[in-house]
Structures are given as structure tokens and as C-alpha cells.
Amino acid sequence: MTKLMTVTADAAVLWKPKGTITPKQAGEVVCSFLDTASTSMGRATHYNTREEQQAAELEAHAKLMSLDRDLYTALLTLPGVLYRAQQLGLKNLLGTPRNGVESFLTADQERLVLYHLIQSMEVPAMMRLFQALQVGDEKLGIKRANNNRTRKLILRTLLGSPRLQLWVVKYRRKVLAALKHAWGNRRVGVVRSILSKDGRTWTKGERKTVSQCIDRFKGENSEKYVRECVRFVLGDRDRLTLPMLKAFIASKDDLEVGAKARLPKEILYGIRSNHHMTVPKEDVLKMVAEAGGLTEKTKMQVQRQAKKAGIEVEFDPNRYDAVRLYLYAFEMGLDEAIVDALATKARQGAAKFPARYGKVGMVVDGSFSMSGDKTQPLRPMAVVLSLRDMLRETAGEAFVEYVGGAFETEGGDTLVRPSGDTALADGLVKVLTNEPDAVYVLSDGYENTPAGRFAEVMAHVRDLGIETPIYHLNPVFAAEATAVRSLCPEGVGVSTMPVKDPTALGVSFLRALIETDPLRGINSLVRLSLTGTPAERKVLA
């Protein structure tokens, strides 16, 4: 581990275990949480059912929250923690009062962290979270969050957003459901009735209701804007002045009006299927593309559809992460722009990576099992290729051995499609002959020619006195051990780390530090989480 001393591991102690918990025990709880929060997507992998994955997730969250609420809160903000884990964390935190507990965060600071987490979510995930907050399952240990704190959080997030107009058009049912959760059905009816009237005729009581339910949460938005959006969601389509809301109604007669007002394509597809069935779907896509109404995310998603319809939809590959670009490339092929974007992502990721070696060896598993499950096709391979690119940039020199795989890039190794069996040990020995300073093995952890050969070879390697650090980076989470599958038993000198997001690999390295120095490792993670880039986080530093 001496090479890892280049990691920025601050000695300042923000957190200490309480009571009879030892740092080692705390370290185990934190590591188990990181393994599930950074890799598990609650979906079936090649190996485990969805139910088993979920049970393992819930247990890991519960243990960490029980260990220390503030530690749990802070670690939810780490890079690489998946939205799913953040959603679960938010439910747990909102559903359980602090009861005066204070470790290293105050109640206000916890609130700021929660807001940051919600605001950094993608909108559909945020809306799903609001719905999920209403539902609990005691047997499974899922909290229900229906309290004042939760209601304020929902209202502030929705009504204070400058994108409220878009949201009430695109997600109107979900926004309505969230308002019902926050206000209750009776109050929704009251608010609807008040807003349907001319504001000049409101009684004092009605003004107070609107002020308490709507205006106090509007943030930087104007009262007029927020009130009209709420009125729209509650079903009142009269006297609309906001452009998107007006266009939504007008599109039922003329789709072009909606496209020009930049209504989302999904909304226009819906209007088309209800009111303009004779208009081909491709024409709608063309209208939206010509009006500049496609979001960057959508531009990538519609490429296949657009190509089929003969429509050109350009997108900027630099706006996407490397994993998404590789998944796109598997489907649509590579071009120069994507190759350049991948190179940029690799350099950017490498710049943030805490470990530096002069010479690295890499064993890249391109075998068939890296195809992933049908619900996550090719994702493990896409993650591994992104890691490969980034880790190459962290070293002065890199030697890469491929195990299996079919190269799809002429004259280069950029795109590798999973194929063939898994002989990782062969790749390891070849890489070691170059005398690297460290070796990265990028694999889902299954070998079969034969199974167990990697561990056998590793035992000989260590017996030969070769102490090169060897890191096994695994893009797949296996529920049976509440951790990722490793290639060797413990003690053979290979650190196994889960990696779903290459940009969060630094977290995985600090996780490795926890195994040798738990207190230092945990505090380094806390510091990393509290001093990230968003302004809210700087308040906490």
C-alpha cells in the first residue's frame, strides 16, 4: 500500500466511532455500504435475482445509518453513489427524525445535503422519489416519509424551480401526485377552488392559504408564474399566459405550435397519438429537431430512430459520460467525434484520480460474460473500457493485455465487444513480465479456463516475492456476499473494488485504504464528500 501514499488522505479526524464499535467494525459497515451504493442497480445481473440484490442493499443502508446518521448522510453525496442509493438514503433520512443526534453535521447542514441530493437528481428520478416517499414496507425495512420536513422539501424543490413550467407539462401527473402528498387531497381541492377565481376577489383567508401553500416556496420565481403552473397542474386550463402551457393546449389543433414552443417530444408524441393519428411519428421528430427542441440527452437516444427516418440529429458527445458513449458506440458505431470525446473524458477522469504510477499493467476482461444481463446489456464492458482509458492516462506507461474480446476498431483497441472464454491468469503473468508499478485487473470476477487459476497464480507470484500492488476492479455487484465477486481469497494480496462509475474510482481507492487504516480511510471519505464542487457542499466544509 506504500504507493497509495500519493492519495490525498487528510489526517484530520472529523468522525470517530462511538461506544464499543471499533474502527475495524465501522470500516466493514462503510465498505459494505460503498459496495452496494456504488454498484448495485437493484436489477438482475448475470448471477443474482433482483430480490436478493435489494435485500442486501437495504441491509447495508440500515447498518450504516445505525452506525452514524451524519456519516450516512455525508457518504450519500460521494461521487459514484448511484441515484438509487441516494433515493433510498433520502427516504431513510426523511422518514426518521434526528432526535437531537449530532455527530459532525448540524440539523441545518443535513437539510442542505438533502436538498443538494434532490436537486442533483434527474427529474424522473426526483419525481419517483417523491412518489416513493409515500410508500413504506416495514417488512423490508423501507421507511415512509410523510412529515412536515418532507412536505417542505417537496414544495421548495418543485415550486422554487425555474423549470416548473416545463415540469408541469412533462410530468403533470407526477407533480400533481407530489402536491397531493404535500398538501393532502382536501387542501388540493381548496387551492384549486381559490386559484380558479380572480385573485382580486380572494378573501383574507384565501390569500393566506395561497401564501402558505404556494408563495412561501416560490424561491426566485414570481408569484404569477408559480400560481399559474399550479393552476394548470390542478386541471384549470383557462386564462393561460405562460408560453408552454398555452402551446400544450394549442398543439391539439396544430402540432407545429407545440414544437416551436419547445414542448418535449414525448408530450408531442402523446398529443399526436390522441389528436393527429395520421401524422407519422418521424414527422414529429423532424419538427422537434428543426425547432431545436431536443435535449442533449434525447439527441443521443433518438439516433437510431432518426437514422431510420433519414433525419440528421447531431449531438455533442462531450456532454455524455464515457460509459454512455461506449454503450452508444456498441449500438451505432464509433466516429472521430466520439473517439475524441472519450479521450477527453479519460484525461478528465485521470486528473481527479488519487493514485499515480509510472508504469501500469492492465488485464482487460473481454469475455462473453461481460455482455451483462439483458436489462443492462453491455454495461459491464462499457464500464471496463472507460476504466481502461482513464487508467492509461494516470500512468507514464501502460501495458494492456486482453482476455477474450473481439476488436471492432480498425487498427486500434478502442472498442472491444465481449466474446470468448476467460483466462485471466494468462493475462496477469504477461503483464507482470513488464515489471509494472501496479496492475489493474478489469473483470466481473468469473474465470473458467479453468476457475481458480488466477488465485493459484497469485499465490505463486507472492511466493516469488513480487509485491506489485494488484487491484481487481469489478463492474458487477453480487448480492451473495454483500460485496463484489473477487478473484482471490483474502490475504493473497489483491484488492477487489466495485466500480460502476469510472469517475468515482477514487472513492474505491479510499475504500481500499479503509481496509488497512479504517479511521483514516473513513475520515478521508468524509472530507471528500464534504468538499466537493457544488456550492452547498462548500458551506459544509
Binding site: 448475470h46 448471477y47 443474482n48 435475482t49 436478493e52 469475455s367 462473453f368 460474460s369 477474450g404 473481439a406 466474446s419 470468448g420 472464454d421 476467460t422 483466462a423 491468469a425 494468462d426 503473468v429 504477461k430 507482470l432 513480465t433 466481473d444 468469473y446 473458467n448 479456463t449 479453468p450 476457475a451 481458480g452 487459476r453 493459484e456 497464480v457 505463486h460 507470484v461 511466493d463 516469488l464 513480487i466 451473495e480
Partner: protein
Amino acid sequence: MTNRTLSFEDILYGVGHGRMQSVGHMGVVPLVDEGDAEDDYFEAPNLRVGNRNYGNVDLDHQGNGPTIVPPGAGWVVRQSAQDHAIGSGVLMRGGEHRNIDTAFCIEESQGGYISQGDHDMLVLPAAMRTQALAMRNEREFGKLWESIRQFNRSCGVSQSGGHLVYFLRQFEKELDEFVAEFELVPRQVGAIILIGGRVVGIERAPTVAFWERLWVPLVRVCYGSMAIQAAKLGLDPAPRVGLDLENPSLDGLMAAMQRANARAEENTNELVTSIKGKLLGVSPTAEDRLDAAKLLTVATPSQQPEFAGQLVEREGRYPYLSLVTA
């Protein structure tokens, strides 16, 4: 019963083999097309399945071209309906509908008919396939229940009864693992499957695409179940060639690995050669016909056959074979 024999050499014409994959109790030697082995007359099965009577299965092949439904194909459905399987394979044209009235129930005390749908296909555990094949023409829908009960007991299934689904649920995780552990290799059209170092199955499909469709049902339930049984019985795992480090250095380790790989390859070559030297007895009557293709039941000729199963013969070649240990 038999009046002619075939050699495996002929049956596996144009087929080479790849490196053995070995995990736990199971080993798989991929069989690969060496350039002339594929027969694209057949396409992979694409079936909608249902029934209206116990002991019957209605098969609708959705593809355009002919297909082979493998012997031992079964359907364990999510509906409240009695799961079913078939003993013999079936040859079907593109778009054809067939009713199989010699099917059998694999879920003893569950009532209800299967609504027609795209239900996932499995292949029966190898331990039951020979018996299912032997009873393929009997019209008694409960004919496999005792076999299922015994199989479940041998695997330590906690629930008793002739329900294959009990085994599938209890060992779902292990069965899924086999799918990841044994990987398809390029140009693969078949496999030789071993448990504890002993050959227990030889499978071959007409094309690479057909094999890709067939492999998961075979490795997961048909042969994966044998590995689970072997583990339960405490049998030794598959033997493998260990490393013999003569020169304690990295170069020495590389050399040891090369020697181990070479020995493993030799062992696999010997295995395949020994199989190719075997003969198969062929039943005189075809089970099914489709144009020039015939579905035939086969077994290694002896009083107590080593293997039994079915193959498809078409224009002097054998694009399909499914044999399990008898």
C-alpha cells in the same frame, strides 16, 4: 431396436473443438464450426406455447423457416397453470402450429391450462431426460412425477412433490451462475458437457445462432442441475491440470502455465478423439419428418447404453444432436 449405426466422426463432421471451460463440478468443451458445419436450413425455435388439456402442448413456431424443438423442452410458467414438457423433439415448419398429445405435466398438484404466450423454454434436467425420452409416446400426463420427486429429493429440495419448479426456485441463484460461468465462444455450434470429469452430454445445433438460443436452457437447468446434484452428493469437482512450477521465477511461472495449458489441451483432444471413436445405434423409425429431414432416436449400442438422445439427419449430414448420459 437398432439396425444401423453411425459414427460420431460422421455426426460431428466439420466440427472442431475449443478450450475446455471448467468451474466447480462442470466442464464444457465448446464445439465450433470449422467452416462447413453450419446448416442454415433450420432456424432457432421461436415458439408461442399453451395448452387446453393436460398432457397436451400447443406449439406455434413464429419463425419463417423450419426449426427443431429439442427433446426435453419444457415450460415453467408464472401463470397458475400446470407446467408441461415434451419427451421427444419436434420438427416444425415456419409458421406451423402443432399439438403434442404425448406431453407430460411437471407440476403435480397444480391445475390450470397454460395461456398461449412467449414463455421461456427450459430443457429438463439431464437426470430425467432419458426416462422422458423412453416414455415419449405414452399418453399419461403424470408419467414423470415420480422421477421429479426422486430428483428433487436427491438435490435436497425442501418441498416435496412432483414439481420441477420447487427445484428451480430453491436453486435459482446457482442455476443463474452457470450461465455466466460458461461462456459462448466464437463460431460455437455445440458442446461436450462433463460433470466430475465424466462426459454427461453431447449437444450440437445446426447454426451458431441456433446454439446461442439453446445454450442457456441447456447449461442452466439440463446440465446445471447435474452439477448441483454432484455437489449435494459430495462428489469430487472436475479434475484440472495444476501448475507445476519448476523454475521459481516469473519466466518459470509463464512456462508452467504454458505446460499446464498444453496438457489441458492434450486431455481435451484425447477426450474428443475418444468420443469420435464411439458409435451410435439409430432407431429404424423416424420420430418426425420434415422435407428431407428426419428426427431419429439414438443410443450407444449395448445392453446398457452409455448415452441416449435424438439427432436430426438431413441429406447425409447431422445438423442436430442431443445426447445425455443414460
